[in-house]
Symmetry: C2
Subunit: 121 residues, 2 copies
């Protein structure tokens, strides 16, 4: 069965490269929270407490860590506005939009998989 798939995942060298690439991507995007956080901020910029409310169940400690991590990888930006008191607003970066396709595909797959599992049970 040499089907269409082989057009996209062709030969051994390219697949070894793909394997390494996928590993590298997972290394940066690991954990429960990073991709959902980026997605949330892509939808709209938010303050710390607003993120906590939307991303149900994340603790302030974990949220603070994840935000720092994402900032180090250029995936979000922390803006401090000199109001009184200061407002701190997190926003998606131009670079974070390079994750758009991954997020779209993950969203489709997650929805489809949920339906598949529901159907089976």
């Amino acid at each position: 069965m040499e089907t269409i798939e082989n057009k996209i995942l062709p030969n051994k060298e390219e697949c070894a490269g793909a394997l390494k690439n996928v590993f590298d991507a997972i290394y940066v995007l690991n954990g429960k929270w990073k991709l959902p956080l980026v997605l949330s901020l892509m939808q709209s910029s938010k303050r710390f407490n607003e993120i906590q409310k939307e991303i149900n169940g994340i603790s302030p400690k974990v949220l603070a860590n994840e935000l720092k991590d994402l900032e180090l990888n250029f995936l979000i930006k922390r803006n401090v506005y000199p109001t009184t008191p200061v407002s701190i607003v997190y926003e998606a970066t131009d670079y974070s939009y390079t994750l758009k396709n991954i997020l779209i595909e993950l969203s489709h797959w997650g929805e489809n998989h949920r339906n598949k599992v529901k159907g089976k049970v």
Copy 2:
């Protein structure tokens, strides 16, 4: 800046759904190994020891666990051939090819991100 992105991630309800979907997908595909394993088996079916060799650094315990998990989620198939001694060959399933787009996007992103980080350092 109401740009192209808004065509794909439009309103609040749809984004809440997308968030849930991404969460569900990550729940199934979490960890360092699952997506690389699926990718490896999409490239070609393999035996246990062959997988260990290709996926550098995975221990037999972890590999056995991950393979069971993936099988439960219909993402790989464990075939036992009645040779002497029996050969056990793991292969990708039709369902695992629904991850193809995610893997392609992750591979592109991982490669691009590696270059970006290299460029910065």
